[in-house]
C-alpha cells in the first residue's frame, strides 16, 4: 500500500495528515508552529508517521500548504491553504458547499460548485478580529486556559451579552468594561465566540450548506451552533476539522502519484 502526506504549516499550529491510496487517514500530527516552521513541519510529519506506524520511505509524496508552505523542504509541491481546505471539505461533502476555515491568523470563505471547483473565495481583512488570535488574546486577558473557552461559553445563560467593536484592541477594552460591570466570564466567552462568527458573516451572503474547518472550530465545538444560528444554513463539521487543510494537501499528494 502507498502512503501520502500533507503538511499544513499554519500561523499558530502545524498539522500533518498521512493517508493511504484509498484516501483513508492513518495518522495525524499536530504541533505549535513556533518560530521555526521547518522544524515544526518535520515534527508534525514524524508524529503523523509514528501514529500511522509507517516509515518515511513508504510515503510516496508530500505536499505542503499554509503560511509556511515554502519552508517545507521535503515537499514535492506546494498549494495554497485555500485550495487544500476546499479539497479536504469536498472529499467529505461532495456537493456545492461553502467552506469556512477559521484559523489562527486569518479566516477563509471558499465557495465550491457541485463539481468541487472554486467559484469565489475571500479572506478576512488584515485584522485579528474574527480569527483564532482574537480568542487566544481574550483567553490570556481573562486568564482562562484556551481549551476551556468552549466549555465556558456553553455555560452562558445570557446571550444578550455581546461585543460590538470591529477592532480587536477595542473589543478587549469593551471586555474589560464588561468585567468592571460584573458580567459573568462564561457570558464573555460566549460573546467573544459570537464576535468571531460575526466577522465571518461579513465576508459573503451565505445561502447553501456550510462546512467548517480550522483549529478554532476544532477546539470550540460550540462554534458550529453559533454559526448555524447566525448564518441560518446547514452547518457541517468534517472529521478532524483542524487537519482538513493537511488532509487536502495529502489528497493532492495522492493525486500527484496517480492515487486518485
Amino acid at each position: 500500500m502507498n502512503y501520502f502526506a500533507g503538511v499544513d504549516v499554519g500561523s499558530a499550529a502545524t498539522k500533518c495528515a498521512v493517508i493511504d491510496d484509498k484516501l483513508h487517514v492513518h495518522g495525524l500530527g499536530l504541533c505549535d508552529s513556533g518560530a521555526d516552521f521547518k522544524a515544526a513541519a518535520l515534527a508534525a510529519f514524524e508524529q503523523a508517521m509514528g501514529l500511522a506506524g509507517i516509515e518515511r520511505d513508504r510515503i510516496k509524496a508530500v505536499v505542503a500548504t499554509g503560511y509556511g508552505r515554502t519552508n517545507v523542504d521535503f515537499a514535492a509541491e506546494r498549494r495554497t491553504e485555500i485550495d487544500c481546505h476546499a479539497r479536504g471539505a469536498y472529499h467529505y461533502f461532495p456537493r456545492a458547499i461553502t467552506v469556512i476555515d477559521i484559523g489562527g491568523q486569518d479566516n477563509k470563505v471558499i465557495e465550491l460548485d457541485s463539481k468541487g471547483r472554486r467559484i469565489t473565495f475571500s479572506m478576512n481583512r488584515k485584522c485579528a478580529a474574527g480569527t483564532g488570535s482574537f480568542i487566544e488574546e481574550m483567553a490570556v486577558r481573562l486568564k482562562i486556559p484556551l481549551e476551556n473557552i468552549s466549555d465556558l461559553a456553553s455555560q452562558s445563560r445570557d446571550p444578550k451579552v455581546s461585543i460590538g467593536s470591529y477592532c480587536t484592541v477595542f473589543a478587549m477594552t469593551e471586555i474589560l468594561g464588561k468585567i468592571r460591570d460584573g458580567v459573568k466570564v462564561e457570558d464573555l466567552a460566549h460573546a467573544a465566540l459570537v464576535s468571531v462568527a460575526r466577522r465571518v458573516l461579513e465576508t459573503k451572503a451565505f445561502t447553501g450548506e456550510v462546512v467548517l474547518s480550522g483549529g478554532v472550530v476544532a477546539n470550540n465545538q460550540i462554534m458550529r451552533e453559533i454559526l448555524a444560528d447566525l448564518l441560518k444554513v446547514d452547518v457541517q463539521l468534517p472529521p478532524d476539522p483542524q487537519h482538513l487543510g493537511a488532509f487536502g494537501a495529502a489528497l493532492v499528494a495522492a493525486g500527484l502519484q496517480g492515487g486518485l
Binding site: R78, R117, R118, M123
Partner: protein
Amino acid sequence: MNAEKPRAKKIASAKTMKKIMADHFLGIDAASKDPGRKVAWCTSVGPAELLQGFGFEVYYPENHSAILGATRKATEYIPYANAVGYSPDICSYLTADVGAYLQGFTPLTAAYGIESIPRPDVLVYNTNQCRDVQDWFMWYAREWGVPCLGVQTHRNVGKVTGDHVDSIAGQLRALAADLEPIAGHPLDMDRFREAVGLSRKCSELWEKVLRTGTARPSALTFFDGTIHMGPAVVLRGTQTAVDYYEELLAELQERIDQGTAAVEGERFRLYWEGMPIWGKLRPLSEQFLELQTCVVASTYCNSWIFNQLDPDKPFESMARAYTELFIVRADPVKEDYIANMCRDFSVDGIIYHDSRTCPNNTNSRYGMPQRLSKRLGAPHLTIDGDLNDLRCYSEEQARTNIEAFVEQLAQG
C-alpha cells in the same frame, strides 16, 4: 517551484526615459532657483497645458509621492503628517509628501542630487482626482504663502453633457484670468494650443503603447506601465514625451512582431483595477512572472489618455477630457468601461486593489466586483492594501490570495 526567480524582461527604452525624467526634475530645480522663471505645482490630471501656455515650469507632487512610495520611503514619513493633524486614513500621497517635506527629505536627492522639492509660485489643482489634492496643495500654500487655485470637478457623472463641459471650461477661463498676474503676462494662446496638441499626441501614443497588451502574449505588463507612464504624467504637452512614446511603441511593436512575451509562458491574463501598490511593484511583478500570469491592462495606466484634447478648442476640449475621466464617472459608466477593457484585452479575471487611503481610486466597496463578475463570467479577487502606506498591506495574505486566484483560474 523554480529555484531561480524569473526576471521581468528589460525594456531598452527605459534608458531614454530615465534621462528625460532626470532632465525634467533638474529643469524644474533650476527654474525654482531662477528669479526670472516661474514654477507651478499641478495635480496629475490638472490643467497642465494651461500652465504651460503661461510658461510655467510644471511640477507634479503626486508623481513625487509615488516616487516616495516606490522607493519605500513613504511609510517612514507618513506619521510626521499625521502628527500635524492629517489623519492616517486620508490620502497617503498627501501624508507621505507632507511628512517627507517636514523632515526635509526628498527622494530626488538620491536620484538627481536635488536638495529639495521646488518652491512654487502657484499651486493649481483639479479635484477630479479627489478632494485631498486640494487639502494637500492648501497645506503648501499656507506653508509658503503662495496662491492656491483650482478647478472643482463634477462627480458621479453619467453622460457628459454640454453643461458639464461649459462649467469646467468656464472655471478654466477664470483660472487663466487668475494666473495672469502671477505669471506677469497674458496667456500665450499659441503656446497653449501647442501644449494641448502635444498632449493629444502624447496621449494617443501612450494609448497605443498600452494596447500592445492586447497582443497574445502581451508585450507589456501593468507593472511596466506604471513605470513608463512617467512621461505621460509629467511631460505631457511637450515634444519630449511624444518622442519618447514613439521610441517605446516601436520597441513594443517589435516584441509583438517577434512574438516576445512580457511574461514568459503567459498562461493567464488579468486586469488590475485600482491604484498600484508602489512599494511592492517588484515583488508583485515577480510573483506574476512565477505564476506565468500577465496583468495586461489596468484602469490606472489608462487614466492619462486624453484623446478629446483639441488645439482648436483648448478650453472646451480640456474641460471634456478632464470630465470624461473614469475617476469622476458614475458606476454604470465605469462598469461599461471595465467590461470593454476586459473584452479588448481578453482577460481571464480581475484584481481589485482596495487602497485603504484612496477611496476615489477604489472600486470594490460598492458591489462592483460582484456585478462585473456576473456580467463577464470572469472571477475577481480583491486585495487589501494601499498606494503608499505599507502598514495597510499584508504581503503574505496578498501573495496567498494571488496564488490561490491563479490556482482557481487553472482549474478551468
